[in-house]
């Protein structure tokens, strides 16, 4: 009985993140005396939507195997928010081109990341770190320290709600469903999981390893690019440090969500669960009035605790 339950949970490691989310929400609501539960959920959905969008890309990268991680996400967000705002230039007609340009910038950085990894045989951590430095410089030069406002229509769109649900959350949910579908039903998705288990075996099994790696880094860059534009729209313009928090956050979300750090196994539902969880923890600690230092301390302990309880990660070989 207990063993069966354990097996079920092992098969769905993302369950922890949702349990954690529910518990955190309950605590938060009880701290505030039972009020504001709904607003908290709405805010959580909005802010988690950004996290989910970037983390989906990070998840795909991490799934391609040990050592694969995209450290260029914060720089891409900084760059793409500047690109989007420059192209839109407060004109409603330029929203679509602006978004396209932001995504294109992200795709380009992703492609460059892959190029560095492949051509120079640099470990992905170092490749994406180096490229992020360059990208950040480009973002600085482009932005010139000016904050350009988004077109009003765009700003309204990213904060709007459809049937009470933030539009952004719907977009992020659609993206998550699409990624889950890609993983299960496309040659590319299966290849990503295969190379995460062993690049060599995937190659010997006749799968196109290089194409899948390229697409994965481009996907991560593209999603970060889109998120950058959305964040700029949401927060009233571009700025350089908009992406900073997503470096560690995406990795934490991916792993707490049950994706295997050693590669090969992605967990899409866990991305949502963990993103909500991470947001609600901060909300809960804010609500209980703890100091910023203590808040970070507790956040860290929770990350360690979750992973210690939920996940023995290394393959049993």
């Amino acid at each position: 009985m207990l063993a069966a339950l354990r097996g079920r949970i092992a098969a769905a490691p993302w369950i922890w993140s949702f349990l954690g989310t529910a518990a955190t929400w309950l605590v938060t609501v009880s701290i505030s005396g039972g009020r504001g539960g709904e607003e908290i959920i709405s805010a959580a959905l909005t802010f988690s939507a950004f996290t989910v969008l970037v983390s989906l890309g990070q998840m795909m990268v991490i799934t391609t195997g040990p050592g694969n991680v995209d450290l260029s996400i914060p720089s891409v967000i900084a760059l793409s928010s500047a690109v989007a705002m420059l192209v839109m230039d407060e004109r409603a007609g330029m929203i679509v081109p602006g978004l396209a340009a932001a995504v294109a910038a992200g795709l380009a950085v992703g492609g460059a990341n892959y190029g560095l990894i492949r051509l120079l045989r640099i470990p992905p951590i170092i490749a994406t770190l180096s490229s992020s430095l360059v990208v950040m410089s480009v973002a600085i030069v482009l932005g010139r320290g000016l904050k350009i406002k988004p077109p009003q229509v765009f700003a309204d769109a990213v904060t709007t709600k459809v049937a009470g649900v933030p539009l952004l959350a719907i977009v992020a949910l659609a993206a998550a469903v699409a990624i889950a579908f890609v993983l299960e039903r496309t040659l590319y998705g299966r290849t990503v999981s295969a190379i995460g288990q062993s690049r060599r075996i995937a190659r010997l099994a006749g799968l196109d390893v290089e194409r899948a790696s390229l697409l994965t880094y481009m996907l991560s860059g593209g999603l970060a690019g889109l998120t950058g534009a959305l964040i700029a729209g949401f927060s009233g313009g571009n700025s350089l440090d908009q992406g900073a928090e997503y470096l560690l956050l995406t990795i934490a979300v991916v792993v707490i969500g049950g994706t295997s750090v050693s590669g090969g196994r992605a967990s899409v539902p866990g991305i949502w669960g963990a993103a909500l969880f991470m947001f609600l923890i901060v909300t809960m600690l804010n609500a209980s009035g703890v100091s910023p230092g203590l808040r970070m301390l507790i956040t860290g302990l929770i990350i360690i605790g979750v992973i210690a309880v939920g996940g023995s990660e290394r393959a049993p070989r």
């Binding site: 299966r190 295969a194 062993s198 060599r200 075996i201 995937a202 010997l204 393959a315």
Partner: protein, 505 residues
Amino acid sequence: MTAAGGGAAPAAPPAGAAAEVFVDLRGIAKSFGAIRALRPVDVVVRRGECLGLVGHNGAGKSTLMNILSGALSASAGTLAIAGEDLTGRYDVRGAHRAGVRCVFQELSLCPNLSIAENARIAHPALHGFGWRRRAAALMQAALDGIFPGHGLGMGDVVGSLSIGRRQMVEIARAFTETEERARLVILDEPTSSLDATAADQLVAAARRFAAAGGSTVVISHKINEILAVADRIVVMKDGAVVDDRPRAAFTREGIVDAMGHAVERARSVRASTATAETMVEVPASRRDGLTFRAARGEIIGLAGLAGHGQTDLLLAVQARRRGTRVAGDVALVPGDRSTDGVFPLWSIERNMSARWLPHLRRGGLIDLGRERAEAGAWRERLALKTPDLRNPILSLSGGNQQKALFARALGAPARIILMDDPMRGVDIGTKQDVYAMIATEAAAGRTFLWYTTEMDELFHCDRTYVFHDGSIVAELAAAELSETAVVQASFKDHSVTDHAVKDPA
């Protein structure tokens, strides 16, 4: 016992020590959850004795040896070494102290360290000032003693060595002694990557070790090897010991019978199904080498000493490297399951379908129904032993995992099938099934490039190319094939006497 020892090798164990029991396993049992890997078994190993241990995959040999080497603890039973009951306080360190060494099937050297440094890993006593020199001397002596003419430098980094040479280092390390003596060496499939010369050298060394009073346990699927080296043979089946007699009481057929499978079919030259259409052509890598050619419907054997370019040729064909001509889709059956074959996180079904995916697509999407149906068909065809194809691949025994890998390659519409010594550690029953299937598929027009380290398997081929030092040195038609012919070709420009001269023993 003495009669058997005399029968296998002239070296008689020292008088008096002959009957002394070194390892005494009584009623040893082991369960993994609900699975009983070992029923209570009794096995003894005497001093100066070489014990052969045979049985199919999953018969419990490795579990028993893991218990003896301290890597696993038994669920029940007692374990005594040199008369001392160590039950309950026996672990890896305890095994080392007692002089029990194990050469595992999967190599357990550290690839980033040198040969000498790897000796240090095995010997806590190698420390302090000058430990490097002592470690190098220790390994040099062991290698010289067992594999004269090995040509290895003690500073060589293990990762840069061929798999055969790594195995030599691994074996030699098991026989090294510091203040901890080597009293019992367990050799689990020790010759799987060794060439014939090195394998013979190892058998001789094991006999010398026994003559000096040491004990060895040899596990091998190569029954001839067991017959050549063992004083006594223990046969295991389904987690129990089913036979335990002196070597002289066994015949090859007797062992195979006891293991529970029909005697291997008599060998016969197969009727070739080759056609005139060339499917693969690889130009000679050197001026004096031969060009590789394979026709439609042909089964080509790749022979020669391990690591002499056979796998490289297969990989060149698979990657369609420049110069190779490959007329059709290629699929590969890997031999080393853990590094080249199995996706450990995936189900059996997904492991099978990995190579079929491009063909399972409809409108760009994988047709899950077809994937399941085709995997199911292969389960029937290969008699894969599993209740559910959605079970993890690692829930299968090695032989059944290998079957899934055959399904992966053969289930794809590939015209050319590459096989990289795919029968390593596979039991005889599975082998026979697969041999038959290869013949059928060749008759249906598929081309097989088959690298094998087992001489017997070359008799299933239409032609055999013999490799030496990265190029093809001989081509043998099925009618010309014999062990002597292959060995002669393998040593063509490399006289065997070269090795004998350096022998310090």
